[in-house]
């Protein structure tokens, strides 16, 4: 069977630096090239930074629970919201999704490891590097970057203390390194998906998660150079006296906004596409039905990739953009509703007449999908130029993107963590704590982010440390919701830590799911199927069809259970 492998057999012979999985825990603390180890490294680091970002958010909501600025100095508030956004995006969401890429892509396509294991490990180890850089900015004189995660010049290049090493300098450095890390990851993930699929796994037999990962990583490859270039020019403006963006030197601050959003809008799709993949993976398992319209759902991912790259100007509708450009980018932005709509309707079609099992991962999926439909509707509102001119840069936008980034993406992340927890730790989690986590999170997030929409509609600008008293009610509710979300993370952490330590042993396929990763023991051996890679003979998600996914399936099932 080795002869039929589509990938280079040298991959299998590459030495593994720390053998002895799963008992050797030391392998998680070094430069390990095993994708599953790297995946768990990504997950643990990013969950730590979720706590950091959440703590910053709770201090912010503590400030905002009353109209005047009374808990922290306004300058401290500015630093907090900047770091909250930066930490959540660059140190929580991107790394955790790369964690899933590492854990899931090789087993799902039957590859022993990634195409470039060393590049992969190097990409991970840049995360703690820029994480430390970013955290160090809290202790440099003048405090961390306080210009928002957009870092729009001229505010971001004002450098009040005049030091060379300042919070903004470290911030730009961290973002640039993060970009390098993401590009390294993207090269690795796309190559792996393109070149290392199991025999018989054509593109239209590939799980949707791999489709969406490929679609998302394509965005990284096209968009990130723009952000990195913009960040370098900003760094030169800040520290070395250039004037790319300084009007007094002939530059234009608007230029930066184009560099920034050309990547940073599609970045949302980099984060949401894998979560669409997660929803598409999990719904068939827990509704016991094939994914409705698999091929169209798969192709819609690349529709989102393409459209996502040509919508960035909708962040500049009120910046002096000419009318024709506003109309054009409004149309492209609204068109995104079509491929995302296809996916949403396909999920509903998958649920229809299914046999629903409301486990914790399923609850997070359903909650995430309902929240996403809501976010999509406010998204079309924001695409509408006149509405955006009113609510742009207000709390309406804050509410909208938290419905995307928390209530959809993070819900999907939690769903995926629960769903694949038994596979990669070899332990079952405790279901009642999972349900508690879901309900606290669902109620907390609605309480936190729904009232923000009303505050924004009434005209409360985002990023304010103090506000007029008429916005007090929305903000009190939002703050209570934020504190509830802080509480909600406790059952999650408790569940993960205690279940990994002493949960009951997980069988190879606890959810009775279809997919190559479920034909492996839990946790899978270091090189997954090693030399004996199954030949895929059917499309994924064959629930209820009674047909095997791979040739000789019974043998693989028996082998996965004998460990």
């Amino acid at each position: 069977m080795t002869g039929s492998l589509p990938f280079d057999p040298r991959v299998l012979r590459a030495p593994h630096p720390v053998p002895g999985a799963p008992d050797n825990w030391k392998r998680f603390f070094g430069f390990n090239t095993d994708a599953k180890v790297i995946g768990i490294q990504y997950m643990v680091v990013s969950l730590f930074f979720l706590l950091v970002g959440g703590l910053l958010a709770m201090i912010m909501r503590g400030e905002l629970i009353t109209p005047p600025s009374d808990l922290v100095d306004p300058t401290v508030y500015n630093g907090l919201y900047t770091m909250h956004g930066t930490v959540m995006l660059f140190l929580f969401l991107f790394p955790i999704l790369n964690g899933f890429n590492n854990l899931l892509i090789p087993p799902m396509i039957g590859a022993p490891d990634m195409a470039f294991p060393r590049l992969n490990a190097a990409a991970f180890w840049l995360v703690p590097v820029f994480g430390v850089l970013l955290m160090a900015s809290f202790i440099v004189p003048g405090g961390p970057s306080s210009s928002g995660w957009w870092a729009y010049p001229p505010v971001s290049t004002q450098n009040p203390l005049g030091h060379l090493i300042n919070g903004q300098f470290l911030w730009i450095l961290a973002v640039a390194i993060s970009g390098v890390s993401s590009i390294m990851g993207a090269i690795n993930f796309t190559t792996t998906i393109l070149r290392m699929r199991a025999p018989g796994m054509t593109f239209f037999r590939m799980p949707i998660f791999c489709w969406t990962a490929a679609a998302a990583q394509t965005i990284q490859l096209i968009g990130l150079p723009s952000l990195t270039g913009g960040a370098i020019m900003l760094l030169f403006d800040l520290s070395f006296g250039t004037s790319f963006f300084k009007p007094e030197g002939g530059g234009d601050p608007m230029l930066y906004q184009h560099f920034f959003w050309f990547y940073s809008h599609p970045a949302v799709y980099v984060m949401v596409l894998p979560v669409f993949g997660i929803f598409s993976e999990l719904l068939p398992v827990y509704a016991r039905k094939p994914l409705f319209g698999y091929k169209v759902v798969a192709l819609a991912s690349f529709g989102i990739t393409f459209l996502g790259l040509i919508v960035w100007v909708h962040h500049m509708f009120y910046s002096g953009t000419p009318q024709w450009m506003r109309n054009l980018f409004m149309v492209t932005t609204m068109l995104i509703a079509v491929p995302t709509g296809i996916k949403v309707f396909a999920w509903l079609g998958t649920l229809w007449r299914g046999k629903l099992r409301l486990t914790t991962p399923m609850m997070f999926c359903l909650g995430g999908i309902v929240n996403f439909i809501f976010a999509g509707i406010t998204g079309v509102m924001l695409a509408t130029v006149p509405i955006d001119i009113h609510v742009g840069n207000t709390y309406f936008v804050v509410g909208h993107f938290h419905y995307v980034i928390f209530c959809t993406i993070t819900f999907g992340v939690f769903a995926a963590i629960y769903h694949w927890f038994p596979k990669f730790t070899g332990r079952m989690f405790y279901e009642p704590l999972g349900q508690l986590h879901f309900w606290l999170t669902f109620i907390g997030s609605a309480l936190n982010f729904l009232p923000m929409h009303w505050a924004g509609l009434m005209g409360m600008p985002r990023r304010v440390a103090s506000y007029d008293p008429e916005f007090a009610l929305s903000n009190v509710l939002a703050s209570l919701g934020a504190f509830l979300l802080g509480v909600a993370i406790i059952p999650f952490l408790l569940n993960m830590v205690s279940s990994w330590a002493r949960g009951p042993r997980a069988p190879a396929n606890p959810w009775n799911a279809i997919g190559l990763e479920w034909l492996l023991p839990s946790p899978p051996p270091a090189e997954n199927f090693e030399h004996d890679v199954p030949t895929v003979i059917a499309a994924p998600y064959g629930y209820g069809l009674g047909k095997p996914l791979v040739a000789d399936q019974d043998r693989f099932i028996a082998r996965s259970e004998e460990v």
Binding site: T75, N78, P160, P247, P253, M330, F345, I389, G459, G544
Partner: protein
């Protein structure tokens, strides 16, 4: 593993009736939400506001219909399609339905294109109400366009000067103020400039927002349609004391406005009170704790300062 149950090729009469009733109910709720949406917005005080609110109501209605439609499918499956405990049988292996998939691709496409076409029309109307034009050269007075000359009732230009963190308004007769006074039902011609960083001229009651870019003068026009006192907020983050960069817009009857302007011209120039300055002084007095910020720019010297604690409507 179970054989697929034979399903009726078309829904039963009861089913059709139920779906029709559900859609009708959804339609009613959506209409009610569209109507209610006006209450979520501040008072309408400019000629642009009814257009914006109209679009918002339209999209609230359509959005509610879609949201409730999708939500009812989810709730229906939660109620009627749950697997009983210990039931390990799979659901119907429905892999897709080409006709349905084409429908839910084409329908949203047509819908968003209709919304976009309608919005482009509204954009066109709004542009005639308050066009924007970025002037490259700093400080140079742009030539009046033909539409400016045609509008005989235009007042202005009023210079709007944004700083870290104060607003200053200079009227054609040289009067300076830190709150903006505008005559009712007259097109006000504004020239927006920033002395330092990006700011944004945002009056929620007018539904209008325009970023102010240092290095350029942005021509901006709007027509207030309701007298009263409204908030003007800086909406683009502008550094340390950004949140304090708010003032009021006072829309007055043209006669009152002229009287105010004449009276203001007789007032001496005084340094305007400035919240950012107060906060910064207090911070320095308390030992300069907190993170770095540029100091506030000296507050402008004006004839009329902002009325402190005057109640605003929106």
């Amino acid at each position: 593993m179970t054989p697929t149950l034979p399903r009726p090729s078309r829904p039963s009469a009861t089913g059709l009736l139920l779906i029709t009733a559900g859609l009708a109910l959804n339609l009613l709720i959506s209409l009610a939400m569209a109507r209610a949406s006006h209450g979520w917005l501040p008072v309408q005080a400019s000629s642009a506001a009814p257009h914006v609110d109209g679009l918002f109501a339209l999209e609230t209605g359509i959005g509610t219909f879609i949201f409730l439609g999708c939500l009812s499918v989810v709730i229906w499956t939660l109620l009627f399609n749950r697997a009983p405990r210990y039931d390990l049988v799979d659901g119907d292996p429905i892999e897709g339905n080409t006709r349905l998939e084409i429908t839910w691709t084409v329908l949203p496409f047509v819908l968003v294109m209709l919304i976009a076409a309608h919005t482009i029309r509204v954009n066109h109307t709004l542009a005639t109400l308050g066009g924007k034009e970025r002037v490259a050269e700093n400080g140079a007075a742009p030539a009046l366009t033909s539409s400016d000359r045609a509008a005989g009732t235009t007042f202005g230009p009023i210079e709007v000067i944004a700083r870290q963190w104060s607003w200053e308004f200079v009227y054609p007769n040289g009067v300076r103020s830190t709150e903006l006074h505008l005559p009712l039902e007259r097109r006000a011609d504004l020239r927006l400039t920033s002395m330092d960083v990006l700011h944004s001229f945002y009056v929620p009651a007018f539904r209008l927002k325009q970023d102010i870019v240092p290095g350029s003068v942005i021509r901006y026009a709007l027509t207030p349609t309701r007298d009263g006192r409204y908030r003007l907020r800086d909406a683009m983050f502008s550094g340390g004391y950004f949140a304090t960069n708010q003032t009021d817009v006072v829309v007055q009857d043209p006669d009152d406005f002229d009287a105010w302007l004449a009276a203001a011209a007789r007032q001496p120039l005084v340094e305007a009170p400035n919240l950012a300055m107060d906060l910064h002084r207090r911070r320095l007095a308390e030992g300069d704790h907190g993170w770095a910020t540029v100091p506030p720019a000296p507050p402008p010297r004006v004839n009329v300062t902002t009325a402190v604690d005057a109640p605003h409507e929106a």
